[in-house]
Amino acid sequence: MLPKSGFTLELVNEIMLSIPDIGVDKFFQRLHEYHINQYLTLQQRYYEHCFQYINKNSNSTLNNYFSSNVQQKIPPKFSKFEDSEGYQGNIPSATLIRECFLGYFENHLENFYDKWMRSLSGQVLSSDHTFKIASFVWNLKNQPFGAFWAVLNEFHEVITMAFVKDKSNNCIKPMLNGLKKRYDELKKEYPWAWYSDQCCIDRKLITSVFSNTEVKKDLFHFLDLYLRSMGKEAQGNIFYKQFIRELRDAFFIIIGNKKIIPQPKILEKRVVNVFEKYKDSKYGIITDKLIKQHKDNLIHIKYGCISDVDNKPSELLIQGMYLIIIYNNLFFIYYLKKIFY
Protein backbone atom coordinates (compact mmCIF):
# COMPACT_ATOMS: atom_id res chain seq x y z
CA MET A 1 0.00 0.00 0.00
CA LEU A 2 1.28 3.42 -0.83
CA PRO A 3 1.80 5.73 2.11
CA LYS A 4 -0.57 8.46 1.07
CA SER A 5 -4.14 7.37 1.04
CA GLY A 6 -7.47 9.13 1.04
CA PHE A 7 -11.00 9.21 2.31
CA THR A 8 -14.29 8.65 0.57
CA LEU A 9 -16.37 11.78 0.37
CA GLU A 10 -19.01 10.12 2.48
CA LEU A 11 -16.50 9.85 5.29
CA VAL A 12 -15.24 13.39 4.76
CA ASN A 13 -18.78 14.72 5.09
CA GLU A 14 -19.21 12.83 8.31
CA ILE A 15 -15.90 14.17 9.60
CA MET A 16 -16.80 17.75 8.77
CA LEU A 17 -20.18 17.40 10.44
CA SER A 18 -19.12 15.60 13.58
CA ILE A 19 -15.73 16.91 14.61
CA PRO A 20 -16.82 20.46 15.48
CA ASP A 21 -19.28 18.95 17.93
CA ILE A 22 -17.54 15.95 19.40
CA GLY A 23 -13.85 16.34 18.66
CA VAL A 24 -11.35 14.10 16.95
CA ASP A 25 -10.97 11.41 19.59
CA LYS A 26 -14.64 10.75 19.97
CA PHE A 27 -15.10 10.71 16.23
CA PHE A 28 -12.33 8.14 16.01
CA GLN A 29 -14.27 5.97 18.43
CA ARG A 30 -17.44 6.44 16.45
CA LEU A 31 -15.76 5.49 13.20
CA HIS A 32 -14.39 2.43 14.91
CA GLU A 33 -17.93 1.56 15.92
CA TYR A 34 -19.23 1.93 12.36
CA HIS A 35 -16.56 -0.37 11.01
CA ILE A 36 -17.00 -2.97 13.72
CA ASN A 37 -20.75 -2.81 13.23
CA GLN A 38 -20.41 -3.59 9.54
CA TYR A 39 -17.99 -6.38 10.39
CA LEU A 40 -20.36 -7.88 12.93
CA THR A 41 -23.36 -7.81 10.59
CA LEU A 42 -21.41 -9.62 7.91
CA GLN A 43 -20.07 -12.05 10.45
CA GLN A 44 -23.50 -12.75 11.84
CA ARG A 45 -24.95 -13.35 8.41
CA TYR A 46 -22.15 -15.76 7.63
CA TYR A 47 -22.55 -17.73 10.84
CA GLU A 48 -26.32 -17.92 10.47
CA HIS A 49 -25.68 -19.31 7.03
CA CYS A 50 -23.22 -21.88 8.44
CA PHE A 51 -25.67 -22.86 11.12
CA GLN A 52 -28.42 -23.55 8.63
CA TYR A 53 -26.03 -25.40 6.42
CA ILE A 54 -24.81 -27.71 9.18
CA ASN A 55 -28.36 -28.29 10.43
CA LYS A 56 -29.45 -29.30 7.00
CA ASN A 57 -26.62 -31.74 6.52
CA SER A 58 -26.96 -33.33 9.94
CA ASN A 59 -30.41 -34.57 8.95
CA SER A 60 -28.73 -37.07 6.71
CA THR A 61 -28.53 -40.70 7.69
CA LEU A 62 -25.78 -42.32 9.71
CA ASN A 63 -24.46 -44.01 6.66
CA ASN A 64 -24.07 -40.76 4.94
CA TYR A 65 -22.28 -39.35 7.91
CA PHE A 66 -19.59 -42.01 7.95
CA SER A 67 -19.14 -42.14 4.25
CA SER A 68 -18.57 -38.45 3.80
CA ASN A 69 -15.57 -36.47 4.94
CA VAL A 70 -16.55 -34.62 8.11
CA GLN A 71 -13.63 -32.23 7.96
CA GLN A 72 -14.69 -30.76 4.66
CA LYS A 73 -18.19 -30.05 5.81
CA ILE A 74 -17.33 -27.57 8.51
CA PRO A 75 -17.01 -24.14 6.91
CA PRO A 76 -14.04 -21.97 7.91
CA LYS A 77 -14.28 -19.46 10.74
CA PHE A 78 -14.94 -15.86 9.89
CA SER A 79 -11.63 -14.05 10.11
CA LYS A 80 -10.73 -11.48 12.74
CA PHE A 81 -11.29 -7.82 11.97
CA GLU A 82 -7.61 -6.90 11.55
CA ASP A 83 -6.65 -10.05 9.65
CA SER A 84 -4.83 -8.86 6.57
CA GLU A 85 -5.49 -12.14 4.75
CA GLY A 86 -9.13 -12.09 5.80
CA TYR A 87 -11.50 -9.25 6.46
CA GLN A 88 -8.84 -6.53 6.00
CA GLY A 89 -10.40 -4.14 8.45
CA ASN A 90 -8.45 -0.90 8.76
CA ILE A 91 -9.33 2.34 10.47
CA PRO A 92 -7.52 5.65 9.94
CA SER A 93 -5.70 6.86 13.03
CA ALA A 94 -6.90 9.89 14.97
CA THR A 95 -3.95 11.90 13.66
CA LEU A 96 -4.87 11.11 10.08
CA ILE A 97 -8.48 12.10 10.70
CA ARG A 98 -7.35 15.38 12.19
CA GLU A 99 -5.09 16.00 9.24
CA CYS A 100 -7.95 15.33 6.86
CA PHE A 101 -10.26 17.63 8.78
CA LEU A 102 -7.80 20.48 8.87
CA GLY A 103 -6.73 19.97 5.27
CA TYR A 104 -10.27 19.91 3.99
CA PHE A 105 -11.22 22.89 6.11
CA GLU A 106 -8.30 24.90 4.85
CA ASN A 107 -8.77 24.03 1.19
CA HIS A 108 -12.52 24.11 0.88
CA LEU A 109 -14.23 25.78 3.78
CA GLU A 110 -12.06 28.45 5.33
CA ASN A 111 -12.81 31.08 2.72
CA PHE A 112 -16.46 30.20 2.84
CA TYR A 113 -16.64 30.54 6.61
CA ASP A 114 -14.80 33.83 6.55
CA LYS A 115 -17.16 35.21 3.96
CA TRP A 116 -20.13 33.82 5.81
CA MET A 117 -19.01 35.44 9.03
CA ARG A 118 -18.57 38.75 7.30
CA SER A 119 -22.18 38.65 6.12
CA LEU A 120 -23.60 38.25 9.62
CA SER A 121 -24.97 40.97 11.82
CA GLY A 122 -27.29 41.21 14.78
CA GLN A 123 -29.51 43.42 16.88
CA VAL A 124 -28.20 42.28 20.24
CA LEU A 125 -24.51 41.62 20.56
CA SER A 126 -22.35 40.27 23.31
CA SER A 127 -18.61 40.23 23.60
CA ASP A 128 -16.11 38.59 25.84
CA HIS A 129 -12.44 37.84 26.23
CA THR A 130 -11.24 34.34 26.77
CA PHE A 131 -7.74 33.46 27.85
CA LYS A 132 -7.85 29.74 27.50
CA ILE A 133 -7.66 29.66 23.72
CA ALA A 134 -4.88 32.19 23.59
CA SER A 135 -2.83 30.11 25.99
CA PHE A 136 -2.63 27.35 23.38
CA VAL A 137 -0.90 29.54 20.85
CA TRP A 138 2.85 29.60 21.19
CA ASN A 139 5.52 31.24 19.13
CA LEU A 140 8.86 29.68 20.06
CA LYS A 141 9.07 30.53 23.74
CA ASN A 142 6.63 33.38 24.11
CA GLN A 143 2.94 33.78 23.68
CA PRO A 144 2.09 36.30 20.99
CA PHE A 145 -1.50 36.82 22.16
CA GLY A 146 -2.86 37.51 25.59
CA ALA A 147 -6.51 36.88 24.90
CA PHE A 148 -9.10 35.96 22.33
CA TRP A 149 -11.98 38.31 21.72
CA ALA A 150 -15.25 37.35 20.08
CA VAL A 151 -18.59 39.00 19.40
CA LEU A 152 -21.77 36.97 19.19
CA ASN A 153 -25.22 37.99 18.05
CA GLU A 154 -28.62 36.99 19.42
CA PHE A 155 -28.65 33.76 17.40
CA HIS A 156 -25.39 32.66 19.01
CA GLU A 157 -23.42 33.12 15.84
CA VAL A 158 -19.91 34.47 15.98
CA ILE A 159 -19.92 37.63 13.93
CA THR A 160 -16.34 38.66 14.52
CA MET A 161 -13.38 37.29 16.39
CA ALA A 162 -9.68 37.93 16.75
CA PHE A 163 -6.65 37.30 18.85
CA VAL A 164 -5.69 40.38 20.85
CA LYS A 165 -2.60 41.38 22.82
CA ASP A 166 -4.41 42.23 26.05
CA LYS A 167 -7.76 43.37 27.37
CA SER A 168 -7.16 47.02 26.58
CA ASN A 169 -9.45 49.07 24.38
CA ASN A 170 -6.77 49.85 21.80
CA CYS A 171 -6.86 46.31 20.51
CA ILE A 172 -10.63 46.26 20.10
CA LYS A 173 -11.14 49.68 18.58
CA PRO A 174 -10.16 48.80 14.99
CA MET A 175 -12.44 45.78 15.04
CA LEU A 176 -15.38 47.84 16.23
CA ASN A 177 -14.77 50.27 13.40
CA GLY A 178 -14.74 47.37 10.98
CA LEU A 179 -18.00 46.13 12.44
CA LYS A 180 -19.59 49.52 11.95
CA LYS A 181 -18.43 49.54 8.34
CA ARG A 182 -20.04 46.15 7.88
CA TYR A 183 -23.36 47.37 9.27
CA ASP A 184 -23.22 50.31 6.90
CA GLU A 185 -22.47 48.15 3.89
CA LEU A 186 -25.16 45.64 4.72
CA LYS A 187 -27.57 48.53 5.38
CA LYS A 188 -28.56 47.07 8.73
CA GLU A 189 -29.64 49.00 11.80
CA TYR A 190 -27.05 49.33 14.52
CA PRO A 191 -27.48 46.97 17.49
CA TRP A 192 -29.65 48.29 20.28
CA ALA A 193 -27.97 46.39 23.08
CA TRP A 194 -24.48 45.14 23.78
CA TYR A 195 -23.76 42.74 26.62
CA SER A 196 -20.26 42.77 27.99
CA ASP A 197 -18.55 41.61 31.16
CA GLN A 198 -16.98 44.98 31.94
CA CYS A 199 -19.86 47.24 31.01
CA CYS A 200 -18.72 50.50 32.53
CA ILE A 201 -15.27 50.28 30.92
CA ASP A 202 -16.52 49.25 27.49
CA ARG A 203 -19.43 51.69 27.42
CA LYS A 204 -17.31 54.64 26.42
CA LEU A 205 -15.67 52.76 23.61
CA ILE A 206 -18.79 51.13 22.23
CA THR A 207 -20.95 54.24 22.33
CA SER A 208 -18.21 56.14 20.52
CA VAL A 209 -18.77 53.78 17.58
CA PHE A 210 -22.46 52.83 17.89
CA SER A 211 -23.93 55.94 19.49
CA ASN A 212 -27.41 54.61 20.34
CA THR A 213 -26.38 51.21 21.63
CA GLU A 214 -27.05 50.47 25.28
CA VAL A 215 -24.20 48.67 26.98
CA LYS A 216 -25.32 46.16 29.57
CA LYS A 217 -23.53 43.85 31.92
CA ASP A 218 -23.70 40.17 31.23
CA LEU A 219 -25.76 38.58 33.99
CA PHE A 220 -23.71 35.42 33.89
CA HIS A 221 -20.56 37.29 34.84
CA PHE A 222 -22.47 39.37 37.35
CA LEU A 223 -23.68 36.32 39.26
CA ASP A 224 -20.27 34.78 38.95
CA LEU A 225 -18.83 37.69 40.93
CA TYR A 226 -21.09 36.73 43.88
CA LEU A 227 -20.03 33.11 43.65
CA ARG A 228 -16.35 33.94 43.55
CA SER A 229 -16.52 36.23 46.55
CA MET A 230 -18.15 33.45 48.55
CA GLY A 231 -15.29 31.11 47.78
CA LYS A 232 -15.15 27.36 47.70
CA GLU A 233 -15.41 26.88 51.44
CA ALA A 234 -18.97 28.22 51.40
CA GLN A 235 -20.10 25.32 49.24
CA GLY A 236 -20.11 23.10 52.30
CA ASN A 237 -22.83 25.24 53.85
CA ILE A 238 -26.30 23.66 53.92
CA PHE A 239 -27.96 26.87 52.78
CA TYR A 240 -25.54 27.46 49.92
CA LYS A 241 -27.66 26.08 47.11
CA GLN A 242 -30.83 27.64 48.49
CA PHE A 243 -29.19 31.02 48.75
CA ILE A 244 -27.79 30.88 45.24
CA ARG A 245 -31.15 29.87 43.81
CA GLU A 246 -33.00 32.66 45.57
CA LEU A 247 -30.38 35.17 44.56
CA ARG A 248 -30.68 34.10 40.94
CA ASP A 249 -34.47 34.20 41.00
CA ALA A 250 -34.38 37.68 42.48
CA PHE A 251 -33.06 38.94 39.17
CA PHE A 252 -36.05 37.79 37.16
CA ILE A 253 -39.72 38.59 37.04
CA ILE A 254 -41.86 36.23 35.07
CA ILE A 255 -44.52 37.95 32.98
CA GLY A 256 -46.49 35.66 30.72
CA ASN A 257 -43.89 32.90 30.38
CA LYS A 258 -41.13 35.41 29.78
CA LYS A 259 -38.26 36.05 32.10
CA ILE A 260 -37.68 39.73 32.45
CA ILE A 261 -35.03 41.57 34.43
CA PRO A 262 -36.86 44.43 36.16
CA GLN A 263 -35.91 48.08 36.20
CA PRO A 264 -33.21 49.31 38.66
CA LYS A 265 -35.44 50.33 41.58
CA ILE A 266 -37.40 47.07 41.73
CA LEU A 267 -34.33 45.00 41.08
CA GLU A 268 -32.39 46.65 43.87
CA LYS A 269 -35.23 46.02 46.28
CA ARG A 270 -35.44 42.35 45.36
CA VAL A 271 -31.72 41.70 45.68
CA VAL A 272 -31.44 43.58 48.95
CA ASN A 273 -34.39 41.56 50.29
CA VAL A 274 -32.54 38.33 49.68
CA PHE A 275 -29.53 39.63 51.56
CA GLU A 276 -31.71 40.83 54.46
CA LYS A 277 -33.27 37.41 54.69
CA TYR A 278 -29.97 35.60 54.98
CA LYS A 279 -28.29 38.21 57.16
CA ASP A 280 -29.13 36.23 60.29
CA SER A 281 -26.06 34.59 61.77
CA LYS A 282 -27.83 31.22 61.96
CA TYR A 283 -27.42 30.84 58.19
CA GLY A 284 -23.72 31.72 58.37
CA ILE A 285 -23.52 32.26 54.65
CA ILE A 286 -22.97 36.00 54.36
CA THR A 287 -19.35 36.94 54.90
CA ASP A 288 -17.64 40.33 54.93
CA LYS A 289 -16.17 39.59 51.55
CA LEU A 290 -19.61 38.94 50.09
CA ILE A 291 -21.01 42.14 51.54
CA LYS A 292 -18.14 44.09 50.03
CA GLN A 293 -18.82 42.53 46.64
CA HIS A 294 -22.52 43.18 47.08
CA LYS A 295 -21.88 46.87 47.62
CA ASP A 296 -19.83 47.04 44.43
CA ASN A 297 -22.52 45.21 42.53
CA LEU A 298 -25.27 47.47 43.84
CA ILE A 299 -23.63 50.37 42.05
CA HIS A 300 -24.11 48.55 38.75
CA ILE A 301 -27.67 47.67 39.63
CA LYS A 302 -28.54 51.25 40.52
CA TYR A 303 -26.92 52.47 37.37
CA GLY A 304 -29.13 50.14 35.33
CA CYS A 305 -26.37 48.00 33.87
CA ILE A 306 -28.30 44.82 34.53
CA SER A 307 -31.91 45.76 33.82
CA ASP A 308 -33.50 45.06 30.48
CA VAL A 309 -33.73 47.79 27.90
CA ASP A 310 -37.11 49.52 28.07
CA ASN A 311 -39.78 48.41 25.61
CA LYS A 312 -37.64 45.83 23.94
CA PRO A 313 -38.24 42.10 23.78
CA SER A 314 -36.17 40.58 26.52
CA GLU A 315 -36.05 37.00 25.27
CA LEU A 316 -33.15 38.15 23.17
CA LEU A 317 -31.16 38.52 26.33
CA ILE A 318 -27.85 36.87 25.95
CA GLN A 319 -26.84 34.76 28.85
CA GLY A 320 -23.51 33.20 29.72
CA MET A 321 -20.97 33.65 27.01
CA TYR A 322 -19.09 30.51 27.92
CA LEU A 323 -22.03 28.25 27.24
CA ILE A 324 -22.46 29.84 23.86
CA ILE A 325 -18.84 29.37 22.97
CA ILE A 326 -19.03 25.67 23.59
CA TYR A 327 -22.04 25.24 21.36
CA ASN A 328 -20.80 27.33 18.53
CA ASN A 329 -19.50 25.21 15.71
CA LEU A 330 -17.76 27.89 13.81
CA PHE A 331 -15.87 28.97 16.83
CA PHE A 332 -14.80 25.46 17.55
CA ILE A 333 -13.45 24.91 14.09
CA TYR A 334 -11.36 28.00 14.41
CA TYR A 335 -10.25 26.91 17.81
CA LEU A 336 -9.15 23.48 16.62
CA LYS A 337 -7.34 24.94 13.70
CA LYS A 338 -5.32 27.35 15.75
CA ILE A 339 -4.32 24.72 18.24
CA PHE A 340 -3.09 22.16 15.85
CA TYR A 341 -1.14 24.39 13.54
Binding site: S84, Y87, Q88, L96
Partner: protein, 168 residues
Protein backbone atom coordinates in the same frame (compact mmCIF):
# COMPACT_ATOMS: atom_id res chain seq x y z
CA UNK B 1 7.87 -6.64 8.99
CA UNK B 2 4.63 -6.75 10.87
CA UNK B 3 3.92 -3.18 10.06
CA UNK B 4 4.42 -3.77 6.41
CA UNK B 5 2.03 -6.65 6.50
CA UNK B 6 -0.63 -4.65 8.21
CA UNK B 7 -0.86 -2.19 5.37
CA UNK B 8 -1.05 -4.73 2.59
CA UNK B 9 -4.24 -6.21 1.36
CA UNK B 10 -4.72 -9.93 1.12
CA UNK B 11 -3.48 -12.17 -1.66
CA UNK B 12 -7.04 -12.85 -2.81
CA UNK B 13 -7.61 -9.13 -3.09
CA UNK B 14 -4.41 -8.77 -5.10
CA UNK B 15 -5.60 -11.35 -7.59
CA UNK B 16 -8.95 -9.57 -7.78
CA UNK B 17 -7.31 -6.20 -8.41
CA UNK B 18 -5.08 -7.62 -11.09
CA UNK B 19 -7.79 -9.48 -12.99
CA UNK B 20 -10.18 -6.55 -12.93
CA UNK B 21 -7.47 -4.12 -14.06
CA UNK B 22 -6.58 -6.52 -16.84
CA UNK B 23 -10.20 -6.62 -17.97
CA UNK B 24 -10.44 -2.85 -18.20
CA UNK B 25 -7.07 -2.62 -19.92
CA UNK B 26 -8.15 -5.08 -22.59
CA UNK B 27 -11.52 -3.43 -23.10
CA UNK B 28 -9.82 -0.08 -23.68
CA UNK B 29 -6.97 -1.22 -25.89
CA UNK B 30 -5.76 1.21 -28.52
CA UNK B 31 -8.30 3.82 -29.54
CA UNK B 32 -11.14 1.62 -28.53
CA UNK B 33 -13.59 3.02 -25.99
CA UNK B 34 -15.93 0.62 -24.33
CA UNK B 35 -19.11 2.04 -22.90
CA UNK B 36 -20.12 -0.76 -20.66
CA UNK B 37 -17.17 -0.51 -18.34
CA UNK B 38 -17.92 0.51 -14.81
CA UNK B 39 -15.41 2.43 -12.78
CA UNK B 40 -16.51 0.56 -9.74
CA UNK B 41 -15.89 -3.06 -9.10
CA UNK B 42 -18.01 -4.39 -6.27
CA UNK B 43 -17.65 -7.91 -4.93
CA UNK B 44 -20.70 -9.97 -5.94
CA UNK B 45 -21.99 -10.07 -2.36
CA UNK B 46 -24.20 -13.03 -3.10
CA UNK B 47 -22.39 -15.71 -1.13
CA UNK B 48 -25.32 -16.11 1.24
CA UNK B 49 -27.31 -17.50 -1.65
CA UNK B 50 -24.86 -20.34 -2.25
CA UNK B 51 -25.31 -23.72 -0.70
CA UNK B 52 -21.91 -23.90 0.95
CA UNK B 53 -21.03 -20.88 3.07
CA UNK B 54 -18.01 -19.00 1.84
CA UNK B 55 -16.78 -15.79 3.50
CA UNK B 56 -14.50 -14.70 0.65
CA UNK B 57 -16.98 -12.22 -0.76
CA UNK B 58 -17.34 -10.51 2.56
CA UNK B 59 -13.60 -10.15 2.80
CA UNK B 60 -12.98 -8.36 -0.47
CA UNK B 61 -13.15 -4.59 -0.86
CA UNK B 62 -14.70 -2.58 -3.65
CA UNK B 63 -12.30 -1.16 -6.19
CA UNK B 64 -12.56 2.16 -7.96
CA UNK B 65 -10.75 2.43 -11.28
CA UNK B 66 -9.83 5.84 -12.60
CA UNK B 67 -8.88 6.43 -16.19
CA UNK B 68 -10.67 9.60 -17.27
CA UNK B 69 -9.63 9.69 -20.93
CA UNK B 70 -11.42 6.40 -21.49
CA UNK B 71 -14.34 6.63 -19.09
CA UNK B 72 -15.21 10.21 -20.05
CA UNK B 73 -13.97 10.01 -23.59
CA UNK B 74 -16.51 12.48 -25.00
CA UNK B 75 -15.31 15.24 -22.76
CA UNK B 76 -11.74 14.23 -21.94
CA UNK B 77 -10.36 12.91 -25.21
CA UNK B 78 -6.74 13.34 -24.12
CA UNK B 79 -5.42 13.73 -20.64
CA UNK B 80 -3.81 17.14 -20.00
CA UNK B 81 -0.22 17.37 -18.76
CA UNK B 82 0.30 18.34 -15.12
CA UNK B 83 2.65 21.24 -15.81
CA UNK B 84 0.67 24.33 -16.78
CA UNK B 85 2.90 25.59 -19.58
CA UNK B 86 3.45 22.20 -21.18
CA UNK B 87 1.42 21.47 -24.31
CA UNK B 88 2.70 17.94 -24.94
CA UNK B 89 0.41 14.97 -25.11
CA UNK B 90 1.12 12.50 -22.30
CA UNK B 91 1.38 8.85 -23.25
CA UNK B 92 -0.37 6.23 -21.24
CA UNK B 93 1.93 4.06 -19.21
CA UNK B 94 -0.32 1.48 -17.66
CA UNK B 95 -1.84 0.98 -14.26
CA UNK B 96 -0.13 2.67 -11.36
CA UNK B 97 2.70 0.65 -9.89
CA UNK B 98 2.31 -0.94 -6.52
CA UNK B 99 -1.29 -1.97 -6.89
CA UNK B 100 -4.25 -0.09 -5.50
CA UNK B 101 -4.37 2.51 -2.77
CA UNK B 102 -6.44 2.20 0.34
CA UNK B 103 -9.17 4.80 0.70
CA UNK B 104 -10.81 4.96 4.09
CA UNK B 105 -14.58 4.76 4.10
CA UNK B 106 -17.34 5.25 6.61
CA UNK B 107 -18.16 1.58 7.11
CA UNK B 108 -15.83 -0.26 4.79
CA UNK B 109 -12.71 0.88 3.02
CA UNK B 110 -12.38 0.95 -0.75
CA UNK B 111 -9.43 0.66 -3.09
CA UNK B 112 -8.39 3.14 -5.73
CA UNK B 113 -6.44 2.17 -8.80
CA UNK B 114 -5.60 4.81 -11.31
CA UNK B 115 -3.81 4.94 -14.63
CA UNK B 116 -0.38 6.48 -14.97
CA UNK B 117 0.95 8.69 -17.78
CA UNK B 118 4.23 10.01 -18.96
CA UNK B 119 4.66 13.31 -20.76
CA UNK B 120 7.63 13.20 -23.10
CA UNK B 121 7.95 16.93 -23.66
CA UNK B 122 8.51 17.69 -20.01
CA UNK B 123 9.55 14.20 -18.98
CA UNK B 124 7.20 13.86 -16.05
CA UNK B 125 5.33 10.82 -14.87
CA UNK B 126 2.04 11.25 -13.08
CA UNK B 127 -1.12 9.49 -11.99
CA UNK B 128 -4.65 10.18 -13.15
CA UNK B 129 -5.73 11.14 -9.64
CA UNK B 130 -3.20 13.96 -9.36
CA UNK B 131 -4.93 17.14 -8.26
CA UNK B 132 -3.27 19.21 -10.95
CA UNK B 133 -4.75 16.94 -13.60
CA UNK B 134 -8.14 16.86 -11.95
CA UNK B 135 -8.38 20.62 -11.92
CA UNK B 136 -8.07 20.68 -15.69
CA UNK B 137 -10.93 18.26 -16.22
CA UNK B 138 -14.39 19.60 -17.08
CA UNK B 139 -16.63 20.53 -14.20
CA UNK B 140 -19.28 17.90 -14.57
CA UNK B 141 -16.65 15.20 -14.32
CA UNK B 142 -15.54 16.71 -11.06
CA UNK B 143 -19.01 17.47 -9.77
CA UNK B 144 -19.73 14.64 -7.43
CA UNK B 145 -16.42 14.23 -5.79
CA UNK B 146 -16.56 10.88 -4.20
CA UNK B 147 -13.11 10.38 -2.84
CA UNK B 148 -10.97 12.86 -1.06
CA UNK B 149 -7.29 12.05 -1.11
CA UNK B 150 -5.32 13.55 1.68
CA UNK B 151 -4.20 17.07 0.78
CA UNK B 152 -3.29 16.09 -2.73
CA UNK B 153 -6.11 14.75 -4.78
CA UNK B 154 -9.84 14.78 -5.16
CA UNK B 155 -11.80 12.29 -7.17
CA UNK B 156 -14.80 12.45 -8.75
CA UNK B 157 -17.69 10.51 -9.77
CA UNK B 158 -21.08 11.57 -10.71
CA UNK B 159 -23.22 8.83 -12.09
CA UNK B 160 -22.12 5.99 -9.85
CA UNK B 161 -22.98 7.49 -6.52
CA UNK B 162 -26.12 5.52 -6.19
CA UNK B 163 -24.28 2.31 -6.86
CA UNK B 164 -21.78 3.16 -4.27
CA UNK B 165 -24.22 3.76 -1.50
CA UNK B 166 -26.22 0.78 -2.46
CA UNK B 167 -23.50 -1.77 -2.60
CA UNK B 168 -21.36 -0.96 0.37
Amino acid sequence: MEQRNRNKYSTKQTILVNTESQKIMEACKGDQVSRNISEWYHPPNSSHRLLIPNPDDDYSLSIFFWRPEKFYNHYVSTIPCITDSCTGKPKSKGWADGGARLIYGLKRNVLLRSWSYRCETCGKTFYAHDERVLQKLPNHVRLGKLLYLLKIYIIIIYNNIYFYFYNI
